[in-house]
């Protein structure tokens, strides 16, 4: 019964989709506002990656929100999965069911971990030049930590430090926005010199924010992994 009703409803919605999509021709040039970004983006922001300039400059506010969402997820996860320390200690004392990882994994991850970190850093530092950016880089860094967790289940990142890093990088983002407000009267304005496009030190605040985001995302995702791991024991 429920299935039949569901399918009927979904068919109706699908018809709606068809009506709607038929009005948006696929692959045709429908670019409207974005033309402005494409044409003036490099000049106005100094970033050759237009997506980055949209993400961090024209629509930087979205990104701030996005970072906040991730932050909320990390904090919320921590809040929901929070356990009193005492109980946790008791659990630690009892026994550790997780098996020790194999030698190959441990050695391999030790080898790969710095490389992954480096790669992640590369991604977010070059966010304004190449595809990629803070989120992507952060995710890569977090995957590095995930690898380490797999290899050394007993080791933990320092929660305090990671929390501080999250908090600080978030503050840097907001702070830069506020500085923009101070210097040019608009929140999140690019108040730094734009530099020469297509070089590393260009695009004003964009790389700085991306670095902050990179750290923030990296630590947040790691924190999420850490929290989930903690509960899985």
């Amino acid at each position: 019964m429920r299935r039949i009703v569901s399918i009927i409803i979904l068919i109706i919605i699908a018809v709606g989709f068809i009506f709607a999509f038929s009005k948006i021709p696929f692959g045709k040039d429908k670019i409207n506002v974005a033309n402005y970004y494409i044409k003036k983006g490099i000049k106005q922001t100094g970033a050759v990656n237009i997506v980055t300039s949209v993400v961090l400059n024209y629509r930087g506010f979205d990104t701030l929100g996005e970072v906040t969402v991730l932050f909320i997820a990390a904090v919320g996860l921590g809040a929901v999965l929070f356990v009193e320390r005492k109980i946790q200690k008791n659990m630690d004392d009892k026994e550790d069911k997780t098996k020790r990882a194999s030698l190959i994994l441990r050695t391999g991850s030790r080898l790969l971990f710095p490389l992954i970190l480096l790669f992640g850093a590369y991604i977010f530092v070059h966010g304004h030049l190449t595809p990629g950016g803070g989120f992507q880089g952060g995710a890569i860094i977090a995957s590095g930590f995930l690898l380490m967790y797999l290899a050394f289940p007993k080791q933990r990142i320092n929660k305090k430090t990671s929390g501080l890093a999250e908090s600080l990088s978030g503050l840097i983002f907001v702070g830069i926005g506020l500085l923009g407000l101070v210097f040019s009267g608009y929140f999140l304005t690019n108040f730094l010199p734009k530099g020469i496009p297509n070089t590393l030190f260009s695009a004003g605040i964009i790389p700085i924010i991306y670095i902050a985001i990179g750290f923030k995302v990296g630590f947040e995702l790691t924190g999420i992994i850490d929290d989930l791991l903690e509960r899985s024991r």
Partner: protein, 119 residues
Amino acid sequence: MSGIYNWMYYIASGGLILIGLYIVLVKTNLIKIVIGLNFIDTGINILLICIGYVRGRTAPIFSRPGISPANVVDPVPQALVLTAIVIGVAVLALALSIVIKVYQHNKTLNVTKIKGLKW
């Protein structure tokens, strides 16, 4: 043929969304429902990308010479997708954590059995 080619991506995205909705409607396992939500997210992301795509053009990154402004796709949907992905991840993470808690309290993942709150 070009019709199918034009519609293929829409079908994929709409299909993912509908499948996700179907899972949410019909499946009783919480994890599956969460996965369904993720399906919807993915579908929407594909939809956004489809909308921004212009046939025959390239990514809006001018790091290599030879890419003219007339030759790039819409950058905005890509930015939006970036945001949407992050939000999706956030929701997913939170959803899983809540599911863990729900499981601890109810010892089941079957939503038809988790009816402590009703009426």
